[in-house]
């Protein structure tokens, strides 16, 4: 293991030395904008394996990579127009952006979903090094798995056994790094959920309303609910409201209206916990009101844990916000409940158009 001190005037020389080592699949400890990092050639599987062995990192844990500009970034992950404009504004910076990998780096660095974390930072030695090398380098902190990262080479050495130290080929020491926070992770990958299309459902009735206040939205909701409750033993199944509409259009307000009619006046957004349940009085002949918010759901896998099948085995009322994401379980919902499809649209800042199909 070789240790060289990085100073203000030997940067070019240090970078040259580091590149030589990295080219030979070596492991380099190098200063970054946050803590000391472990650098290897991210495109070389053998080198990556060496890194994983050093870190004792379990397989399947993703590791992000450094790039030196947006060109190299786009070369390694898929970026659409919209994302590119945004990245333009926030990079270089203290962020790790997660996007779909183009699989040019070793697969071992990607997540199970094939995403890759990319860092484009302002720290000059790293930028210059990656630029000169021409390929992305790993951007993982120089510490063993589940231990804290290091701001100085000294503290790193204190943690390492002799065997581990031998695995390192070069240490670039820049003294004590300022105590910066780790980078903030931004996941920009898109969702992989089946979206409900209008054609998936056939309805008998359709009604449109214009609401000009939250109170009116609530009244419309309770009006629809009352109408459905009055239909005598037409349906012994559960009742499912699928509510779709943009952020802030008033989906939760609609559910508040339903809740208030059923005796619950403290309905709040369930986004954070996915759903809340509210037991109902006997007179309603439905056991519970379930208020779902599928906003956070990004993966079909997650539906499994919601227990919707069990909920539908009883006679319940379900209100599902971001219901368009329920494409995956549409068949189940259709089979086991009566569906009311609510579409909410902005007319202007106060007014909403509410279309109800059932």
């Amino acid at each position: 293991m070789k240790v060289i001190r990085l100073t203000d005037n030997n940067q070019a020389k240090v970078i040259k030395e580091a590149i030589k080592i990295i080219k030979n699949l070596g492991l380099v400890v190098f200063p970054t904008d946050t803590v000391y990092g472990l650098l290897i050639d991210a495109t070389n599987e053998k080198a990556v394996k060496k890194l994983l062995k050093f870190k004792n990192r379990p397989a399947g844990k993703a590791i992000s990579v450094f790039v030196n500009d947006l060109v190299m970034l786009k070369d390694n992950v898929k970026v659409n127009n919209k994302q590119e404009k945004m990245l333009d504004q926030i990079l270089p910076g203290h962020f790790t952006v997660v996007l779909s990998s183009r699989h040019k780096v070793s697969k071992l660095l990607e997540s199970e979903k094939g995403t890759l974390g990319v860092r484009f930072i302002k720290y000059k030695p790293i930028i210059d090094l990656v630029k000169k090398y021409g390929k992305p380098l790993t951007a993982t902190s120089a510490n063993l798995a589940s231990r804290s990262p290091h701001h100085s080479v000294e503290s790193l050495f204190n943690e390492l056994s002799e065997t581990k130290k031998k695995m390192i080929d070069l240490v670039v020491d820049a003294g004590k790094l300022p105590p910066n926070k780790p980078s903030t992770v931004i996941d920009l990958t898109s969702e992989k959920l089946k979206i409900i299309r209008q054609g998936d459902m056939v309805f008998n009735q359709s009604q449109s309303f214009i609401s000009s206040s939250e109170d009116e939205t609530k009244k419309i909701a309770s009006f629809i609910l009352q109408k459905l409750l009055k239909v005598k033993n037409a349906d012994l199944r559960s009742l499912t409201f699928i509510i779709e509409g943009d952020l802030g259009v008033g989906k939760t307000i609609f559910v508040k209206g339903i809740g208030e009619y059923l005796g619950w006046d403290d309905i709040i957004s369930p986004t954070f916990v996915v759903y809340y349940e509210y037991p109902l009085l006997k007179k309603f002949s439905f056991k519970k009101l379930y208020h779902f918010d599928l906003y956070q759901l990004t993966d079909t896998e997650e539906f499994k844990y919601l227990g919707i099948n069990e909920i539908l085995n009883d006679k319940n009322i379900l209100c599902i916000e971001w219901g368009e994401k329920a494409g995956e379980i549409m068949e189940l919902l259709k089979k086991k409940s009566k569906i009311v499809y609510v579409n909410m649209k902005y007319v202007d800042e106060k007014k909403r158009k509410i279309i109800v199909n059932y």
Binding site: P182, D187, L247, T252, I268, S269, V274, Y275, Y305
Partner: protein, 362 residues
């Protein structure tokens, strides 16, 4: 008094051993660690994940609590592993578990586990409200008993996270009264959603904090401060969300991208202003000047700064969770809250009938 506490209220499986206010061990197993992932990016609704990990997490918490000293000899022997746990359990006085508020299917896992332990080792269960835990997080100590904060009741508590936004009047150890709450979205949720509208992905809170900081926490857009004049201490963030959505709709794409830092900074200011306005109103109305700020959003440095200034203005004080892990969900704070409940003799009476309450209130 040693308590083994469990929290599975949302997407972190956590167990801790506390001795009074001191945390002997705290193990948090979040989806983040299991699925590799990226520091809390992927939110999950993980009944199965909780079920898979709860045993491991409880065992780890017991092991790490370091009071199985008398048994070190045996710990090398695999056959004695169960004996170790048994030995550790014999040093535990009580069990504690979060029974709400939270995600029903997640809460169930912790409750089931604690019932099982209660039966096996014949220990009483202390039921804990997750929000009591967050409040006590500000008075949770490390294993050495630091920080040594003393209680100076009464307090005004601002509880602010992705799932909660409440002002609580905390008169005495177990005397909580909600005097203000959100009528729709939580503050942290509003921040997450604003980030989403700008395509900033998830989680939005920390990204916004960072971008706002880079913009110098400026407020060029002056979004509405909802419920400013409502006269009560309640919050609402859905109106702000709508205003923001509309504002973005009208803004040309180019400008939106150019001003992204200013936009999120302004949005964060609007959210924090609402928090500040109502907290200040509560100070004036109730006359209590000692503040406690807890929950995930309490980790935000800008909010901390503004709360500190507010307390200063009224010559009061403000405390936050002393360690980073205490901002998020964890079982340590549940154990500390349980300690004070146990002292007051609050235990689950009918263990069979003990169930989760997803919308539990203070």
């Amino acid at each position: 008094m040693k308590i083994l506490a469990i929290d599975t209220s949302c997407d972190e499986t956590s167990a801790a051993v506390v001795d009074g206010r001191r945390v002997l061990s705290n193990v948090i197993y979040s989806q983040v660690l299991l699925h590799k992932k990226w520091g809390g990016v992927v939110p999950s609704i993980a009944k199965r994940a909780h079920e898979e990990r709860i045993d491991f997490v409880v065992d780890e918490a017991l092991k790490k609590s370091k009071f199985q000293i008398s048994n070190v000899k045996h710990s090398f022997d695999i056959c004695h592993l169960d004996f170790d746990i048994k030995n550790s359990m014999s040093k535990i006085d009580y069990l504690a578990v979060t029974y709400g508020p939270g995600l029903a299917v997640a809460l169930e896992v912790g409750i089931k586990k604690v019932k099982e332990l209660s039966k096996k080792y014949n220990k009483k269960i202390i039921p804990v409200n997750h929000m009591e835990g967050h409040i006590y997080s500000c008075f949770t100590q490390n294993s050495k008993g630091n920080p040594k904060r003393e209680f100076t009741f009464p307090y005004l508590v601002l509880l602010v996270s992705g799932g909660h936004t409440e002002i609580v009047l905390w008169k005495d150890y177990l005397d909580f009264q909600i005097i203000g709450k959100t009528t729709d979205d939580a503050a942290g949720e509003a921040l997450d959603k604003a980030a989403k509208m700008l395509g900033l992905g998830y989680p939005g809170g920390p990204v916004i904090e960072r971008l706002a900081e880079e913009a110098g926490n400026v407020d060029p857009y002056k979004f509405p401060r909802p419920m400013r004049k409502s006269g009560d201490l309640n919050f609402s963030f859905s109106g702000l969300k709508t205003a923001f959505y509309y504002f973005l709709q009208k803004m040309p794409e180019e400008e939106k991208n150019k001003m992204i830092k200013e936009l999120v900074s302004s949005f964060q200011e609007a959210v924090f202003d609402s928090l500040l306005i109502k907290t200040e109103a509560a100070i004036k109305q109730i006359g209590i000047i000692n503040l406690v700020v807890a929950g995930g959003v309490a980790a935000n440095r800008e909010l901390r700064k503004r709360m500190k200034n507010l307390a200063k203005k009224y010559k009061g004080s403000v405390v936050y969770p002393p360690y980073k892990y205490l901002n998020g969900d964890n079982a340590a704070m549940i154990g500390v809250a349980a300690f004070f409940k146990a002292k007051a003799g609050i235990f689950v009476k009918h263990i069979e009938a003990f169930d989760r309450i997803p919308r539990l209130s203070l």
